[in-house]
């Protein structure tokens, strides 16, 4: 952090000003002039919170994607299919047993098993052939998409939010002040906040596992130099399988999350594949903190864009990607 400030004082200043401005916009009571210019504060706050919670969902999808890429150099273009598969499994389980949590657990296990099968049956055979692996994942995504269309049809599914998470709660964020001097607080759906907290917890656990455990050390060493790690006697195939299982399982969990606060339908797989692509391009390939940063940026850009410039919202996301590629092609937080 300090090194970044030392090396790029101008960028650090710009980032600082942007964060300060955002904090002021979130915390302060807006003067009437500002409300006239860009609309109600409640709309803005909702967009920001939606952006951050959407970012947490993107993080769940993209962290698995970036982990798999970082270690195995495998651009898993079937990642969106794993997401959708997890969502459908979660829907089936939670509709059958009525338990939301159980849906998460089974979706994680089921999709992780698919990931293990893919790694052992398919990708192990073509190790080191990046392009061929990518082609295979494209073929797999087509096959999976059609199989899921076969099994679940083209309908929209939404996973039932459990009763203890239904409904909004009041946040200590003032949206407006009434003429009587009474402050109006923001009300926001509880389930989204819970999911945000869960994503943060998962992110921290992953960071700790990668940076503080022996297995994490092996994974990091594998990211840096796969061959040398194998030469030191580490059972690298086992590490590969474990990482693929974890990455796929995270996509499965993300599917349940996405099915809860959005919906599941054919085509969502491509949407989330695109989201994870953009997130890891912006954040930096193979970097978990990069995925987190990219996910928040893209989530915010998407939500704020769809509120303030509805017909050009996707262009904002795209421009961010272009800007990052132009200034820092390896991504914001990638080491190189």
């Amino acid at each position: 952090m300090t090194r970044f400030i030392e090396r790029h004082p101008a960028w650090a200043l710009i980032a600082l000003v942007a964060v300060a401005l955002l904090l002021w916009l979130i915390l302060a009571v807006w003067p009437p002039g500002l409300e006239e210019a860009i609309g109600r504060k409640r709309v803005f706050l909702n967009a920001v919170l939606n952006g951050i919670t959407l970012g947490s969902l993107y993080f769940l999808v993209a962290s698995g994607f970036t982990l798999i890429f970082g270690l195995m150099r495998n651009v898993n273009l079937a990642h969106g299919s794993l997401y959708l598969f997890g969502g459908y499994i979660g829907y089936a389980i939670s509709a059958w047993t009525g338990s939301w949590i159980l849906g998460f657990i089974i979706a994680f296990i089921a999709v992780a098993l698919v990931g293990i099968a893919l790694q052992i049956i398919v990708f192990r055979r073509m190790e080191g052939e990046d392009l061929r692996q990518t082609m295979v994942t494209i073929g797999l995504s087509i096959v999976f998409a059609d199989l899921m269309l076969w099994a679940f049809g083209g309908d929209f599914y939404q996973i039932q939010t459990p009763s203890w998470l239904v409904g909004p709660i009041e946040l200590p964020l003032v949206t407006a002040v009434k003429s009587s001097g009474e402050a109006v607080y923001l009300r926001y759906p509880l389930v989204r906040l819970v999911i945000f907290v869960a994503a943060v917890v998962i992110g921290i656990v992953m960071w700790l596992a990668l940076n503080r455990t022996r297995v994490g050390m092996m994974v990091r060493a594998g990211v840096d130099d796969r061959d040398m790690l194998a030469a030191t006697g580490v059972p690298i195939q086992l590490v590969f399988v474990a990482v693929f299982a974890l990455g796929a399982g995270l996509a499965g969990i993300a599917g349940v999350v996405g099915g809860t606060f959005q919906s599941l339908s054919p085509g969502e797989d491509t949407r989330f594949l695109l989201a994870s692509l953009v997130v890891v391009i912006v954040g930096g390939m193979g970097s978990i903190p990069g995925a987190a940063l990219g996910a928040v940026i893209i989530g915010l850009a998407e939500q704020l864009g769809s509120v303030y410039i509805p017909t050009y919202a996707i262009v904002v996301t795209f421009l961010i990607m272009v800007l990052v590629l132009a200034l820092r092609p390896q991504g914001l937080l990638a080491r190189r």
Partner: protein, 360 residues
């Protein structure tokens, strides 16, 4: 058949003007002449449905896939945005030309709207390529896929220029010299002409100094840079050339369907182009056309075939996906590679055939 028989005679190099023609190895093979003749007399053999739905569609998809083949085969850059460039050209034809959406279309005549669309699409593709060459290898797929997907979602959202998710309908097609060029037979010849032009252009460029330098860049960018070649400039120029070919395909496509909507530029369609190129083989320009033919035949007849076999007719994409997986698993060079391996095995039965490895 007489033409086929006479073809080997032309292999004898004789007059000087003929020598330039014979510098193209294609003209020395009888099979090539046979295919050319069949394609030329196709309107007298095939009915309107076959002519347009099978052969013209094959030529269009093949041309778009050819642009991908050029980038992937000679430049080592697998770009998934070739269909997006074609779709962009198609949208531009609709926007500048005449259509039923009078609030969008500017109503230019076709001879003005079409070059405009080609130029804009080439610029669009070149800009996308400039972005994509900032990274290498496997990243190219991701960035071009992101560009393609972003364009798809953008056309869906934007009503002012792209007509939202309904797109633009009843686009006017060229009529001049007393010919309706969208009528089956003239249209077939237009597609055939454009496809042949693109095919030979790619063949020519692949042997021109630029194409050779590009192949050098594919094989060893660092050495080429050390030799004084501007690696990125060659890559961007390759994107520009490929974009122009894809744009030609896009213009033909919009004349064929007379409408354009986001569905035509969806991510699935982008991936179809990759499938076509890979199934056909990305080492030679003929590959994409073979791939496109297989793809179109499957797409058109898979439903009937599946129903006849007592299966669900809607599982066409499953078939395509499995076929693609099989090709990627067993041959690194698509159908051409399979055929060549089979032929090599047939000619030298004692030696074990060696398939090519890794094509990027």
């Amino acid at each position: 058949m007489s033409l086929v028989q006479s073809a080997p005679e032309t292999t004898q190099p004789a007059a000087a003007p003929r020598a330039t023609l014979l510098a193209w190895p294609e003209f020395n093979k009888p099979a090539v002449w046979l295919v050319a003749v069949i394609l030329l007399i196709m309107p007298f053999i095939a009915s309107g449905f076959f002519l347009i739905e099978i052969f013209a569609t094959t030529l269009i998809l093949g041309t778009i896939a050819l642009s991908l083949m050029f980038l992937a085969g000679y430049g080592g850059m697998v770009s998934l945005m070739q269909l997006t460039i074609a779709g962009f050209a198609a949208y531009m034809v609709a926007v500048f030309g005449m259509s039923a959406n009078t609030n969008i279309s500017l109503g230019w005549p076709w001879w003005l709207a079409t070059p405009m669309a080609l130029v804009l699409a080439t610029i669009f593709g070149t800009l996308g390529g400039t972005l994509a060459v900032r990274t290498e290898g496997i990243y190219t797929i991701m960035i071009t896929l992101a560009i393609g997907a972003a364009f798809y979602y953008f056309t869906n959202q934007n009503w002012a220029i792209f007509g939202g998710h309904t797109g633009i309908n009843t686009i006017a097609t060229p009529k001049f010299w007393g010919v309706d060029w969208r009528a089956d037979v003239p249209y077939y010849y237009v597609t055939l002409g454009v496809a042949a032009f693109c095919y030979f252009a790619v063949q020519y460029v692949s042997r021109a100094p630029f194409g050779l330098a590009l192949q050098g860049v594919r094989d060893n960018p660092r050495r080429m840079a050390a030799l004084g070649f501007n690696v990125n400039a060659h890559r961007v120029a390759a994107y520009a050339f490929a974009s122009f070919i894809a744009a030609l395909g896009g213009v033909l496509q919009v004349w064929n369907y007379r409408q354009i909507s986001p569905g035509s530029v969806s991510v699935g369609a982008c991936i179809d182009i990759l499938i076509i190129a890979v199934v056909g083989g990305i080492t030679r320009p003929i590959g994409p056309y073979i791939g496109a033919f297989i793809f179109v035949i499957l797409r058109t007849f898979a439903l009937d075939l599946l129903v006849k076999l007592g299966l669900d007719g809607n599982r066409f994409r499953l078939l395509i996906g499995l076929g693609f997986l099989a090709i990627v698993f067993w041959s690194s060079d698509g159908v051409i590679g399979l055929w060549e391996r089979w032929r090599r095995r047939a000619t030298t039965p004692d030696k074990r055939a060696v398939g090519g490895h890794g094509h990027g």
